[in-house]
């Protein structure tokens, strides 16, 4: 599966872009944004966690590609929750 998607990427980035824009609108893909570095530091401190201790997200993940985050960035995800309505979670972008 991965070989196919990477092939189509090199074939036409335009098609890739179209797909990415469609994915961004999907109901299961939550809203996300990059957290500025200093704010990320503060948040981690508040959680008393090292960067690798929060959930990861791969740099190849469509969500990361949509917002253009780089490995090392902390991203804020605003996720729908069946119990709490909307919740904010953080994930750190890891290579891969």
């Amino acid at each position: 599966m991965s070989s196919r998607s990477s092939r189509s990427k090199s074939k036409s980035s335009k098609k890739e872009k179209l797909l990415l824009s469609k994915i961004a609108e999907h109901e299961l893909v939550p809203r996300a944004e990059i957290v500025p570095k200093d704010e990320a530091k503060r948040i981690l401190k508040q959680m008393n966690a090292a960067p690798w201790q929060i959930p990861w997200i791969r740099a190849s993940d469509p969500l990361v590609r949509i917002i253009g985050a780089k490995p090392g960035d902390v991203i804020r995800i605003i996720r729908d929750s069946p119990t709490a309505g909307k919740v904010i979670v953080y994930r750190i972008v890891v290579p891969g």
Partner: protein
Amino acid sequence: MSASQQVLTEEEVVKCLSRLYNILPRAYVDEIIGKVRGRRLTREQVEKLMLLAVTAYYRTIVDPGEAIGIVTAQSIGEPSTQMVLRSFHYAGLREFSMALGLPRMIEIVDARRKPSRPMMTVYLQGEYAKDGEKALEVAKRIQLVTIENVAKSVDIDYISGTIVIELDPDQLRYWNLTLSDVRKALDRIRGKGAEVKLEGYNIVVTLHEIDPVKLRRVRDKILQTRLAGIKNVKKALAKKEGDEWIIRTEGTNLEAVLTVEGVDHRRTISNDIHEVAEVLGIEAARTVIMRELKRVLDEQGLAVDVRHIMLVADIMTWSGKVKQVGRHGVAGEKESPLARAAFEVTVRNLVEAALRGEVERFRSVIESVIAGKYVPVGTGMVELMMEL
């Protein structure tokens, strides 16, 4: 009358309660505001309400150190034993069947590469969703059509080494295909050792050397040639659900389906978790794991709190990739060598850990039990130091 006795206006009440957004989950605050509307409350009452809400909320949240993993394992494990055991339950969905019950649940937590019954639910956009004819049109565009689907008869002549495939004009018309489409498809597969010709509605294949085994192989290859549709989508059926038309497919290819005209790319979904993780991302995969597990349990009439399911989904997607709960995932990748040894193949795990020179830090439950230490759960979480 003092200020606190005065009845507040609705805006004032809402403004006051909005402060709770910083403390309580959104859904709860919204619920409280919904209930309060239309009632005449004084400032004193609102303050009391807020205090009550916050105390009630903090009473219900899980204590630090609670062994939520064990609670989740038991809460999902026990009901699963009540499931109709091993019955491959097929819900008759016209020509469809899907794996339900325990087999499907195991499939999800094991994060199998391919579900035994991969399927997609394709939602349609605008007029396609309202009109059955239009929905059928999209279904035809999605379903994979091979030469086999439009063939009327296949003859193999073993003596002269020829295969004659007669095409069905009605079938071709049904799939909106013409002979030139067939010719184009045949051009793509033209290989060595054989000659493929299209004569009217007959595909004539002549092999240079006559070999019955090869003949059969060539026949299969030609019959499987794709004429139209999307790879892997074996079947696509338009169906009315509620007041809109949707398409259910057997076989999945989410990436390709999302860009098909008429398909609602906002809701269309596959039940293949790995595929969803790849196309829509890990967050979407998390939601699909939750939905699928919940659906299996609901179908069996078992009530399991979503929070347990959320925990399973969270753990499975923690590393940014879908990880199974078994040997090759959550349990097998534990940091502690003793914990891994306690799980499976004790000796091998210990030997391998020793060879790698791993360190046991006694940070979790099983290894602490083995060593006779206090387990870091509940009151065991805290360490006290006495000043002498």
